[in-house]
Symmetry: D2
Subunit: 166 residues, 4 copies
């Protein structure tokens, strides 16, 4: 049984449009890059900013919704858990990655639309914001129970459902 609590709560903005892929079994996997910025005063009393970029992953139904409604610049609430992965890079080196596996999401009203999407076509408009979505409903049955494949620096191409290492 589960022992321990591993919970993450984020509110931040997307640095790019989401990227959605599908497993061979048809399950959506959407990844976003989410910025949270904090401030502290350094020892000279100056305001110092620091931004963390979180790699957030949405599976299944939540992945479809995230891919459809979120855009670069969108403001979003995410709840999930931290997942650490280790893999061998293409250079043969061991690498580590950290992902936030989302199991709840809610769009907030800031900068929806976003636009000017990053690399790909992007630029589909976001729909109505301020809705909450979770991955816990019965039925489709992929929620945290069906979490993350290999992580960011790692490629996630061409993988079958069976490749999901968990």
């Amino acid at each position: 049984m589960a022992r321990g609590i591993n919970k993450v709560i984020l509110v931040g903005n997307l640095g790019n449009d989401p990227e959605t892929r599908y497993t061979q079994g048809g399950m959506a996997i959407t990844r976003i890059s989410l910025a949270t910025t904090s401030v502290r005063k350094d020892k000279d009393g100056n305001q110092q900013e620091r931004t963390e970029w979180h790699r957030v992953v949405f599976f299944g139904k939540l992945g479809e919704i995230a891919g459809e409604y979120l855009r670069k610049g969108s403001s979003v609430y995410v709840e999930g858990s931290i997942r650490y992965d280790k893999y061998t890079g293409q250079d043969g080196q061991e690498k580590y990655s950290t992902d936030i596996i989302a199991d709840e999401m809610q769009m907030l009203g800031g900068r929806e639309g976003g636009g000017g999407g990053g690399m790909g076509g992007g630029d589909r408009p976001a729909r109505t914001p301020r809705q909450e979505y979770g991955n816990q409903g019965g039925g489709g049955g992929q929620r945290r129970q069906a979490p993350a494949p290999a992580s960011q620096p790692a490629p996630m191409d061409d993988f079958a459902d069976d490749d999901i290492p968990f």
Copy 2:
């Protein structure tokens, strides 16, 4: 100003005794390795366990308390934020690390004492559990404002306060 929320809540057990170091300015920095285990059913309906090992860092007064009261096996509640760091390894490669910067902690009653400590002297008994500590009080003034140096695979030896990269 701050934009966004970056909050982590963990309940887990220490895999080893804490490691405490001090900056040249005398500030304590304590690191622990904290396990949280979750379960899911795989597609064959079998229970699959997965453990995440979180690297948690406590600064200042909180670092002193963590170093003094926590032990291998201790059960603890931690609240903090995620911090991602990038550094150059001794092999000249860019590496990444992820730390949880604690700003609150509370010992829970499970397996206090721990004992059988790892490598170093260790084995001092834990004191009374079930107390909550935070890093927000005025005075000493190191709290999240004085967060993490380079991360785990990275060495944290011999650094002066000025070396703290934030």
Copy 3:
């Protein structure tokens, strides 16, 4: 759709054995009284304690587990949401109550067993602690979607499923 986040995280001890009832439809509803104690320094610098007693409600499968495994004195992690209710007391007066509707629970290792139960028979031993349970799985299908009836000072006797006011 949902707008907003309403999330509560509690770690505390039960003041009494749980009370479990069943709807006419057979759904379990378990209530516990959970203490959390905080400290502050008053203006004279003295430590002042204050205990909050949370009325936590578990529905469905989670209600069965809570009723079976928790006991007076048990230490438990609860995650849920706040629910405010208004009802007319037997004296004809409008009254208010506040409940925490649990959707996740995890027993912690403190004082399991409890024993010496309050008023009723009680005194069944708690089972193995340190397991996490949630109400989100498909199937039975009562989770937050099937939350709380009238609240504490209000009686919760003899109600049919149809009486659940939501």
Copy 4:
């Protein structure tokens, strides 16, 4: 020492302009009414909405900021703890109230401005949103350590600092 965790996280919208009062000692106390709405499917498969109205209280510096920047309609993230109070109403009856004592707040970008304020003059424009504020800094020293007086149905007029019942 503290035993237990009592943590609340809310994202919602203000139903009215904030109300700010000052203790005789000059400490600001600001109250807001914050809505969070959730949905569930009832047994007929229809979407059922339910809104909780949280009474959130900000003290000290945080109270000043909340009073100055929040407005009816503002979207806000609040972190704090639950506080239950019992008092004797003007009708001589015992009454109960529940407040969320905020210790962190961050304005979100939705509907700032708000306008059309409720009862009082209101209608000052909100300032720049998306900033995070906490009550933990040293100095003034009112944070959760200086929480809530009597609660909503209860009057909070004319009270001196010494009247604060904690």
